[in-house]
Amino acid sequence: MATVGTRYLAHARTDGEGRLTEADELLAQLQVACGGAVGTRVAIPELLALVEKAQRYGLRLARQFEAVDGEHRITAWVEIAPLTDEAGEVDGCTIDVVSWQSEDLPPENDIAAARRRIEINRHLADCTARLDSNQRLLSVETEAPDLADFAEKALANVGKPWTDFVDLPGNAHQQPLHWRLLDGARCEIDGSQRGWTAHLEPLGQPQPGSAGFVLYLSADRPLAIADEGAAADTSEGPSFGRDLTPVLRQPINRIIANAETIRTKLAGPLADEYSSYAADIATAAQHLLALIDDLSDLEVVESEDFTTAPDRIELADVARRACGILGVRAREKGITLVAPPEGESQLAIAEFRRVLQILLNLVANAIRYSPEESQVWIRLDRIGSRALITVADQGHGLDEQQQERVFEKFERLGRSGDGGSGLGLYISRRIARAMDGDLTVESAPGQGARFTLSVPAADDLRQKPR
């Protein structure tokens, strides 16, 4: 602004749809506190109104907005300027924060708090029931599918206390208790995986409850998420992406940090070979971290629109990188990894990271299932327009039935306790196919197994065209 020398406290941008595309910390935090995120629509109600207005008018506006982040009342002064694209159409806005006042929210008075709580219960309840003054059921209404059984049972037993139809864990008293003791009680309901909270709104004056009650049952999570959880529970245990990723990331990050400390000899002098082991640890852990991301994206890999970012890559590089990462593990079992000889080359069109991921999976499997003192070969080849990379081991091999099943999800071929997840080959084949390639196996019992990844080949640009 021309008239005032202004120091901006924060800056943000929205796109034409009112989504917050970028935001400095101040606004980003408030956006999150209001239930949004960077990338979603502006969640701060008054700010959204301003942004939409500036966009609609095509005018630069400067206004105050107020918001509550849960603990503070925030009063901020913002300048909002619409952005125009080449066609002269307004496409998003910039937001500059000029001043930012934050004060503690005044304590809410009890009556207002109680009223608000009732309002929230009313809006969130998946089930409402009307009770008489002795907490006996008069009517039940629900739209939640997992409460259908409950509602049916309850409706067939109108006139009985509502507490007969729910489990109140840790509450062994004769039911129903006084409503004030039951208000806010946690309960479990047959047929529903979700945890429930019961709220009782007393009706009638002057004695609250003299005209009966309204019972609100609110679940601890929405049904959609509950369903996903239930499906995951039956088929694959805890969901990797949701449950394990955060748990795994932290220790792995620590491994990397410590390995890096050892590698760089920060903690004191160390023999060089140990330092290089530490480097291997760090590399492996880093790759593990990337793998966790991939696994947590299992749903993404499985979706039809999963794509990779193909590039011209050198398969020999990928093979050597895989041997480097897994060399230590192989040596521990006395297995020799035979990488493609120096100078051998095969160019392909594929995503480096994904090919490496597949190769690591194949080589790790080979190491895991090969006898000690054996060899694992990695060979490059080309057939027509396909570039091939093959991992061959001297293990027990697979019979035909096993070969059919080995790429199935969670297929362990009867093995357990060796650290495998049964997902590796499944994901690898998915990725291979997403890169316009394939992953196949040739084997016979007692003759070892040969896993072959084929991807589109690329010609060496340095060679003269034939």
Binding site: M1, A2, T3, V4, G5, T6, R7, K53, A54, Y57, G58, L59, R60, L61, A62, R63, Q64, T75, A76, W77, E79, G88, V98, S99, Q101, E103
Partner: protein, 318 residues
């Protein structure tokens, strides 16, 4: 052909009837306006001066829009173009209640500013509080105060000329005004109009308007903003801005509440803004020494006062 009137006679009759109806409509309005003027002992809200100021501001707005249009069309006699259409467009603007309310409030604000200068010697532009803020440690507050001072000086100047620069309108009114201009121009908009409108919108910066700068100063003062609720120290402009922001009223409503028949609203507004009952009484008497401040303000909490205000809004204003 005596039986049937010719089409020309019919259309003449229609025209006459229309003119008659229009005339009647004007006459019908005489009674309520007259009775209102006669029954109101105090004309401070409708004095000739106020009406003249509102008319002046609307005409100035119309002229500025038309001048921009003439400029975009490249017409030589820009002043003449504005002269030709100015009165009619201004009349069109009279039909916008929000714009009228805004101009009315500005006229009242300026009248109050002048009154306080005469009565208590409060400088219309540089009040003691503004002077203090200019030296504030918070450089962003100090520079906002400086900008508001400049804007207030511009305001004083334009009010003396009964003018209102387009660039001083709040964003919503600016938009309304441009839409009104479009409506006045009719269905077909010339390229010149489109260019002129785009140029006006491009040049508009709400953050540079006086009202916005005042609000920004009050916001930047934070909890210290209570100090702006002393009209002797803050001056009219900052006082009404602080009153509006801190009590949750529009600035128009806050200005109207300074009228001496609005003591109840003023007291409640000051309570909602956070003043205690002694200070409220002081401010009320300061604005009107003959006023009878309502009793029992101490019994209202800030929230109750705010709720009462929002439950009984002034109709017709935003």
């Amino acid at each position: 052909m005596p039986e049937t009137a010719s089409p020309k006679v019919v259309s003449d009759q229609d025209a006459l009837r229309e003119a008659l109806e229009a005339g009647n409509a004007a006459l019908v309005r005489i009674a309520p306006i007259l009775s209102h003027l006669l029954s109101t002992p105090d004309h401070s809200l409708f004095s000739d001066e106020i009406v003249a100021r509102i008319r002046g501001m609307c005409q100035h707005l119309a002229w500025q829009v038309l001048r921009a249009q003439a400029e975009a069309a490249g017409q030589a006699g820009r002043e003449a173009f504005a002269e030709r259409h100015g009165a009619a467009l201004a009349e069109h603007f009279f039909g916008s209640p929000a714009l009228l309310a805004h101009c009315h409030a500005l006229a009242i604000e300026w009248q109050l500013t002048e009154k306080l200068e005469v009565r208590y010697g409060i400088d219309p532009v540089l009040s003691p509080l503004v002077q203090e803020l200019l030296a504030d440690q918070d450089s962003s507050l100090a520079s906002a105060a400086m900008a508001s001072l400049t804007a207030q000086a511009r305001f004083a100047q334009s009010q003396r000329r009964m003018e209102l620069p387009l660039s001083e309108l709040p964003g919503d009114l600016f938009h309304d005004l441009l839409m009104g201009w479009r409506a006045y121009a009719g269905q077909v908009r010339s390229d010149a109009m489109i260019r002129a409108e785009a140029k006006l919108r491009e040049a508009f910066d709400e953050g540079a308007t006086r009202i916005s700068l005042m609000a920004r100063v009050v916001t930047a003062m934070g909890s210290d903003g209570l100090r702006a609720l002393d009209i002797d120290r803050a001056g009219t402009a900052l006082f009404v801005s602080a009153l509006a922001i801190r009590s949750g009223q529009s600035r128009v409503d806050a200005i109207l509440s300074t009228n001496h028949r609005q003591t109840a609203r003023l007291s409640l507004g000051l309570r909602a803004a956070g003043l205690d009952s002694t200070d409220i009484e002081r401010q009320v008497l300061r604005l009107d020494p003959q006023a009878n401040p309502p009793r029992g303000m101490a019994g209202f909490t800030v929230e109750e006062a705010r709720r009462l205000l929002t439950e009984t809004p002034i109709s017709g204003t935003e």
